[in-house]
Subunit: 120 residues, 2 copies
DNA sequence: TGCAATACTGACTCTTTTGTCACTATGAAC
DNA sequence: GTTCATAGTGACAAAAGAGTCAGTATTGCA
């Protein structure tokens, strides 16, 4: 089975999934939008202060292209644009949740190790 | 909260998780080891023919460093080395599963779209 | 002697991703 | 007419990641 998507070939649906969520800030953006929605660019920036604006916009554009998020532009000045997860985007909730859970568990094992190193 | 791990700082456990699973072949390797274990390098190579050996070894080394997999070397010639998921590595099962599920669902939406494009 | 099998390393290049900087547009308020 | 706020783009530099190629070690066997 070969999946053709956006000029690339993917051999498993898993690889396809990774191409969608694989970007420095994408999981973080989706996480934000799962917790509060809709969000404006300026609000996402506040929640992810380490990502610069240019980078965030790029990731948002890619997510939009993949139809993970929707973008609604209000015809006002100064501009107002709202981002929210699409129906397909909401399907990523289990992915984000399981990553968070693993992160917590992994962190605990690191801390335990640090503790036992101190004890030695 | 700041997590120090391997000379880097992570601001959330989610970022830490991503640093562990974020490598071109890591999810694929973990997927293989969830389905069949233990596996030798040569067996993993057969299952992931698009990854070259050097690359696989690098990813395996990193996973080993993060204690996601264990590596057992048999003292024989020619060499025999077995890889399997550690206890911590097994915690990644929900992550891999949810990514696969999302991949399948995402693929369906793409296919539906392709169908409707044909209909138009 | 020379080759086979397996796992692995070093040094390098190439590509992709990420980050930075300066810049644009709009209309209202002062 | 200058300034503000918001969202955005273009062009480039830097860094990280991925991929390639040639080479190592071991021991048994023909």
């Amino acid at each position: 089975m070969v999946i053709q998507y956006k000029d690339k070939q993917y051999f498993t649906s898993k690889d396809l999934a990774l191409s969608v969520i694989g970007g420095r800030w994408k999981i973080a953006i989706i996480w934000c939008l799962l917790h509060e929605t809709p969000l404006r660019l300026s609000e996402i920036q506040k929640k992810l202060p380490d990502a610069n604006q240019r980078m965030l916009i790029r990731q948002l554009r890619e997510l939009e292209e993949d139809k993970i998020i929707t973008r609604y532009v209000y015809p006002v000045v100064p501009p107002k644009v709202e981002y929210k997860l699409s129906e397909v985007g909401l399907l990523l909730e289990p992915v984000v949740t399981s990553i968070c859970n693993f992160g917590d568990q992994f962190m605990q094992t690191i801390e335990q190790e640090a503790d036992s190193t101190l004890v030695d």
